[in-house]
Structure formats: C-alpha cells, structure tokens
C-alpha cells in the first residue's frame, strides 16, 4: 500500500473549520488516521481535491462512512446498473429506502431485503434482531405499514461447533424482535453448508402496504423546513473507527473496548411504526429517512443531496443516551430505532405532540438551507461544513479486477457411470428428509408469530406465503430463494436459477410475479475471482429478470463475507413478490384428498450435479448444476397458473432440493393439514437415483380430483407441455413403483416424524 508522506500533508490547505475548543483537541490528520478510516490514499487525495482543504477528524469520519463499500456501493454499482428496474407497475425503483410496486385499487407494496451478516456472527441474537428492525424501518420510512417479514438464513454445517449456537441465537433474535413489533414473519429459507462455517448469513426482508399517493421519499424540500429527530436517544453504538477513538494518542479517557454490537429495542420500534404512520397522515411532513448504517450522517447528507439543498444541524440538540459524547460520535453512532423527518415550519409543536403521545424522544435539531452543504454545529462551534455532492456521490466507482476462478475448471459434469445406481430408495429418502437442508422448518417458524395481523392466508410451510390485502380481493405471495451451491458451480446460471425458482414458488401459490428484490452476499471484492462471481451472478440475475419480465426494485450488497481467506459460496438471494387478484384462487402444496390424481408438469433428466442427494449420500458437492431452459420454465409456470386460475387443481408444489420423491413426500405432510399417503407409479428409462432424487428444474407436482383428468390432459396437449400422471393420493404409506418394481415403501407417518423432528432435535442439543 502506498503511504501518504507527511510532507504532502504539510502542503495541504489548512482546515477552515474551527476546531471544537471545549472538547478534545482535533488531532492532525495523519496517514495512519486516514488508513484507520478505511480510506485509500487515492480516495484521500480525491477528498482533498473535491473540498479543496483538509477535512477535520469529524469530516474525515463522515467521508469514511459515506465512502465505505456499505454506503457507496463503489465495487458493485457499475454492475447493479445493468439490472432491469423498470416496468409498468414500478412506482419506485432502486435508489430510495425500498422499492414500490403498484398493485391496483390505489394501493402499492413496498419491499426490500437487507443483510445483517457480520453483526449476527458476532452476536447472533442482537445481530439478527437489529437486522429485522433495520429492514422494517426502511419500509415504514416510505410511509407504508409493514405487514410481512421473511428471512433467508445460512449457517455452517451441523457438525461445526458454532452452528447450533448461531442457529438458536439468530432464530431467537428474529422471534423476539419481529413478534414484539406485531409484524408477522411468514416465511424464509435456511441452508446449512460448510462454506458458511465462518460467516453465517442473515438476510431480512420486509413488505409494507401503502396508498399509492402517500409514498414518502428521503426528501428535504424547501429552505426553512425543519429537521426533526425521532426515536431512541443516541448512544455510542457501533461507531465506525472505534479503535481509533480509543487509541491513547488523542483520547486519554480511554475506556474498555466498547462492544460493537447494538442491542435492539423492538418496543421502541413498534412505537416508532405507529407514531410515524400517524405523522404521515399530515401534509406538513415533507420527507423522512431512517438512520441506518452511518446514522445521522447518511440520513442528513442523503436528504440534502436528494433535494438539491443543504442542511444545518445543531448536534447539541440531539437527544443523547450517554454523557460526554463528541460530534464525531454523535454523527457516526449507529444507535437503532431512530428516524429523521423533515417538516414544514410552523408545525413543530403538532409533530412533537404526536411523538409525545407515543412516548418517543424527539427534537428539532436543524433546518434546510439553500447552500448545497451540510453544516453542523456543536456547542456553538461549527464542526462540519461539507458540500453534499462530494460526500454522497463523490466516491469513484472502483473498476475491480475480474478473473474466472480456477476451481471452475474442475467442475465438470458428474460422471454417472462412477456412481452405482440404487435398487431401493428408502434409505436415501429417509436420510434426505432428515437432512439439514430439507427437514421441516417447523421448529423455526413456530417461534415466529406468523399469524398476527390476520392476513396470513397461507402460513409458512408452503412454497410461498400469502398475505391478503384487507378491503380488496387481492393478496400478495412472497418467496425468498437461492441455491448457493449451484451459484458456486456456476454463478451466472445459479443466480438465474434462483430467480426462476422464486418465481416458480410464487406461481405454485396462485400468484403472478410482479417484482423482485435481492441481497448479494459475496466474499472479498478485492479478489478478482470473487468480483468475477459477483459480475456473473448479477448478469445472470439481470438476464433472468429480463426474460421473466420482473423488475428489480430494491436490494442490498454484502461483501467481505469471508474468514481467514475462505469466502462463502456466492449467495445472490432473491425475494420475489407476486400478486393474487382473487383470494379464492390461491394454492398450497399439500395434498387435499385421498383418491386425487398426482401428476408432474415438466420432465425429469439424469441430473445429479450439485444435488442434495450427492451431498447427503456420497458426500460429494461437485458437478454441474441442473440446466435451466428458460423458455421451458416459462411454459411450465404459465401452464401451472392456468390450471390454478381455472380452478382445476387441488395442490401444486415445485420440485427442488431432494427431487421428485421429496417433493411428493412434502405434499403428503403438508403442515397444519392432515397427512395423506401416496403411491407413485413411474415408467422410466432413467437411473432410479436421478429419477427419484435428481434436481431437474422446471418441474411441478400437482394433484386434482380424478374426474378432471381428461380435461387437464387435454389442456396440456393443446398447450403443449410435458405432463404425466404419476400416481395417486391415499393410503397410509408412501410407495414408489418404477417399471413395475417397488423401490420405496414406507409408512407416511414414520417419514413425517423423521422430517418434522430433525431440525428441532438438532437445535435442542447441548454441545
């Protein structure tokens, strides 16, 4: 790394901003300090160019957080620009706190997914809890009432000592926060894989409902508008560069190294939701921004920048939780449950009265100014005076090097002749049903209040959750997906598969996909191989979204997910939102009645690469992921949705991990309903293992009353689509016959017990 020489610093113009005298003396900005703020020499030079003087320490702190990867998207932005973000329903695409999609009837849904990976690894309970809190604020900041939460969780292998602790902590954290705020957690996904041993992932999704003409943006409006601070008091939580602050060079009152994790206060969040929604009813609310990463700094700069104005703030007026806080700390604090409102002058007392009613701290801390700068005072001294553009938009996009990783050369089609086929599938089925990535998630979602709000038409445990929209015939379907194993083997195809699969889940539940949000979890972008994975995944996702005609309206990027040089698999998680026009036309995955026909839409190929079967039975994780034929996928989906719209079928479930046998077994178990047996009768020339457990994409298992068989088969012929009758619902066993030979026969209740209890008993053990 290039070192900034001291000589160079002496040549710089002197700071024109007064240093706060009553407080600690402002230190010289040394190369060491610059480095500790995570800024490169080039970036520091650019700062000097842009503002034409040396920033003081507080200002340097501002640049450091605003130019961080997290806030500036400097590595990822050039690629994200290639995602399709437009569509007839899009009211707000990326760029605001969350995306907004019109659902008709004067209503819109607001949604986004966001990561809280690193905090959750350090302190799983609080990390996950504050992750949920943060994403909810992004939603109600837009004026919407949050009505559903999802999460996507990834942990290391079951044998890894820390996995159980992290799993319990994360689930507890989500449960404690979400349940308390009264927003139902209606779905999600959980994967376990060795690649997450040192970096678990916690991605939280929230969806809110808003009148389409009452959407609020991070807007400061005209000069003279008042800046209103709302919510918890500011403490020293999660301050960037805390190590620097504690270093004895410039702070003798060094204290214990402060914990960098923040503790969530879901009760205050609940009050914030109600108070904000009450404020939003008034026309004098001009704009609002939550204080997320980089706290007061990013919210004030972004609002100023967004409205081409400036902001003046007096930090002495900020409600503080701790004594002796200095401007640097107040500005960079990441205390949770705080918001910044901009209101028209003259309505201060009215606003404060609403907040007082809800028992929240609030204060007018500044106003909008004409000059396009953010000027910040503390105890009568100006401590920050920076033009908004350089801070918000000044970070240069990084053109990081790309390189195709060498490991991909070793990923070849699995040579099936090396793998002995099976004659019976009982053992494999049982093992798969008990396996970490397939076993029932009941233990998890029973800890989440998934019913509060009285909107959850389809509870967790089906392909997608369905939330009705009160006062209309509509409902929205939600699904979050990503098979990172596929993404590792082929990031481009893996990301496209994630999109296809999330959409398939939405379609299986009777909805049409209308929008997508993503959370791109990757390793260290400074490594060309990681950046290549990133580029490939974003391209794959973008192409798939274009093909399926789904706009990307929001998202989040989480890089540096690696420990000791080991990166996670590329994990571009996608959450897709679907629209149901008629609540009567929703579909679930569970079989409904003995005697019903079981059929498969789509066809099966000999694909075992990257499958759970290979992993669970043979401890192999190689091979090429199954092939996504997009046109075929689209056909399968539209046929399935036609069957649902015509009211012809009783259940629909897509085949994913574990293949056909697992999908049918899951339809037999169907959470909440009765357990039904099934008999499959297959005539096939495929290998038995691939037939039963292979993960060929674009397949949906449906069931329907026998008398509709002709009508459905005829429809399939005319469509045309691959469609085959494969068995019958009923009995107390799960039986599979292939070419007249029995290959599986198990009591369905036995299978269900294995599937149902596996995760809970793992989680409940003490290590």
């Amino acid at each position: 790394m290039v070192k900034l020489s001291f000589n160079l610093l002496f040549l710089l113009p002197k700071s024109t901003v007064d240093k706060p005298k009553k407080n600690r003396p402002d230190p010289e900005i040394t190369p060491q300090i610059v480095k500790e703020h995570g800024l490169t020499i080039e970036e520091f030079r650019r700062i000097l160019d842009l503002i034409d003087r040396t920033p003081n320490l507080t200002e340097l702190g501002v640049f450091s957080v605003m130019w961080s990867e997290h806030c500036s998207y400097k590595s990822s932005r050039p690629y994200l620009r290639k995602l399709p973000v437009e569509g007839p329903r899009v009211l707000q695409g990326p760029g605001e706190n969350a995306g907004v999609i019109d659902i008709g009837d004067g209503l819109a849904v607001v949604f986004k997914i966001e990561s809280h990976n690193h905090p959750s690894f350090i302190e799983p309970h609080q990390g996950a809890a504050t992750g949920v809190g943060g994403i909810m604020r992004d939603i109600f900041t837009m004026g919407a009432r949050p009505i559903a939460l999802l999460n996507s969780l990834r942990f290391g292998e079951w044998d890894e000592p820390r996995t159980r602790f992290l799993l319990n902590g994360v689930v507890d954290g989500i449960s404690s926060y979400g349940n308390c705020t009264g927003v139902p957690t209606v779905g999600g996904e959980i994967y376990f894989d060795a690649c997450y041993n040192g970096n678990n992932l916690v991605n939280a999704f929230c969806l809110g409902l808003v009148k389409s003409d009452r959407i609020f943006l991070a807007n400061a409006g005209g000069v003279g508008n008042q800046i209103l601070y709302v919510g918890s008091k500011t403490g020293r939580d999660g301050i960037h560069g805390a190590s620097l602050l504690a270093s004895s060079e410039f702070d003798e009152t060094t204290e214990d190294k402060r914990p960098t994790v923040q503790v969530g206060d879901p009760f205050t969040e609940k009050l914030l939701i109600e108070a904000c929604l009450e404020l939003f009813k008034h026309d004098w609310v001009v704009g609002v921004q939550d204080m997320g990463a980089a706290g007061l700094t990013s919210s004030s700069f972004e609002m100023a920048h967004g409205s081409e104005a400036g902001v003046f703030m007096d930090l002495s007026k900020v409600p503080l939780r701790e004594e002796g806080m200095i401007p640097y700390e107040i500005l960079l604090s990441e205390s949770q449950e705080r918001m910044l409102f901009v209101i028209k002058p003259g309505y201060e007392s009215e606003a404060l009265a609403v907040l007082d009613k809800w028992g929240l701290d609030a204060a007018i801390i500044g106003e909008v100014i004409e000059e396009k700068s953010v000027r910040i005072n503390f105890e009568g001294q100006e401590v920050v005076n920076l033009p908004t553009f350089p801070v918000v938009d000044g970070a240069l996009d990084l053109k990081r090097e790309l390189k195709r990783p060498a490991y991909l050369d070793d990923v070849v089609q699995v040579n099936l002749t090396e793998i002995p086929d099976i004659t019976r599938g009982d053992t494999a089925l049982k093992k798969l049903l008990a396996s970490p990535n397939i076993a029932s998630r009941e233990w998890v979602f029973e800890q989440f209040d998934h019913m509060v709000g009285l909107n959850t038409l389809v509870m967790p445990g089906s392909d997608a959750a369905i939330i009705r929209i009160k006062g209309t015939q509509k409902a929205v379907a939600l699904s979050v997906d990503c098979n990172s194993h596929y993404c590792y083997l082929d990031p481009y195809e893996g990301a496209a598969i994630a999109v296809a699969e999330a959409c398939r889940n939405i379609v299986c539940s009777g909805a049409q996909p209308i929008g997508l949000t993503n959370c791109l979890n990757f390793g260290n972008p400074e490594k060309p191989e990681i950046m290549w994975q990133f580029q490939q995944a974003v391209e794959g996702m973008g192409d798939a979204c274009r093909f399926f005609d789904i706009p990307v309206v929001s998202g989040n990027v989480s890089l540096y997910n690696e420990t000791k040089g080991d990166a996670i698999y590329p994990t571009p998680t996608v959450a897709v939102v679907g629209l149901v026009e008629d609540q009567e036309k929703i579909m679930t995955q569970g079989f409904k009645k003995a005697g019903d026909q079981i059929a498969l839409i789509g066809f099966t190929m000999e694909e075992l690469g990257g499958s759970e079967y290979l992993k669970v039975m043979l401890d192999r994780s190689d091979g090429k992921p199954p092939i996504l034929d997009r046109k075929h996928e689209k056909q399968v989906q539209s046929f399935c949705s036609e069957l649902i719209q015509k009211g012809l079928i009783s259940s629909a479930h897509d085949c994913s991990e574990g293949g056909l046998a697992v999908a049918v077994a899951e339809s037999c178990f169907s959470y909440g309903g009765h357990t039904l047996g099934a008999t499959l009768t297959l005539d096939q020339t495929l290998r038995t293992d691939a037939l039963l457990f292979g993960e060929t994409l674009s397949r949906i298992v449906v069931s329907f009353p026998e008398e509709r068989t002709d009508e459905i088969e005829e429809l399939a012929m005319r469509f045309p689509i691959d469609f085959s009758l494969i068995g019958k619902v009923g009995g107390s066993d799960f039986t599979v016959n292939v070419n007249g030979q029995e290959v599986i026969k198990q009591e369905i209740n036995v299978l269900k017990e294995i599937w149902k209890t596996s995760l809970g008993s793992y989680a409940g053990q003490v290590t």
């Binding site: 302190e123 403490g235 204290e255 914990p259 923040q262 503790v263």
Partner: protein
C-alpha cells in the same frame, strides 16, 4: 457451595428494559429514580471439591454459557453452604 452470579450489560450497551422500567417508575411517582439497570441473578448450588476449583469452574460456566460476554459482564461470589 453456592455461587451467586450477577450478570449485567456492559457500559454503553442499551438496556431497553431498564429504560422502560425507569419511565414506569417515574410515571408511578417515584421521581427520585435516576437510573435503572436490569440484569440477571443466578444461584447455582455446587458440589465442588474446593473453593479454588469452584472458582475456576464457575468462571468457565459464565464464559461458556451463562453470560453473553459480547454485551454482558458477570461477577460472582461463592458462599459456603454447610
């Protein structure tokens, strides 16, 4: 032997419960209340060979399971019970 363990939040960590109880006490007219911190108190009955051993083991238990040392600190005392 009885271990009496106190677990409290580290300095600077938000204690939402303490904050809310503080408000409630003020609302009930206890104006003299200046600050409230809420933690855990555990009593563990032990069958240890010696005080020294108990000391080591209880510290271990706290670090391993009882306290969340990322945000909490603990202290304990040992009381003879015979």
């Amino acid at each position: 032997m009885l271990a009496q363990i106190h677990i409290t939040f580290k300095d600077g960590v938000l204690d939402p419960q303490g904050k809310t109880v503080h408000h409630a006490l003020n609302d009930l007219g206890y104006d003299e209340v200046q600050e409230v911190n809420i933690g855990k108190y555990m009593e563990i009955k032990l069958d240890s060979a010696s005080r020294e051993e108990a000391e080591i083991r209880v510290r271990e238990m706290c670090e391993q399971l009882l306290a969340n040392t990322v945000i909490e600190s603990f202290r304990f005392t040992l009381v003879d019970t015979e």
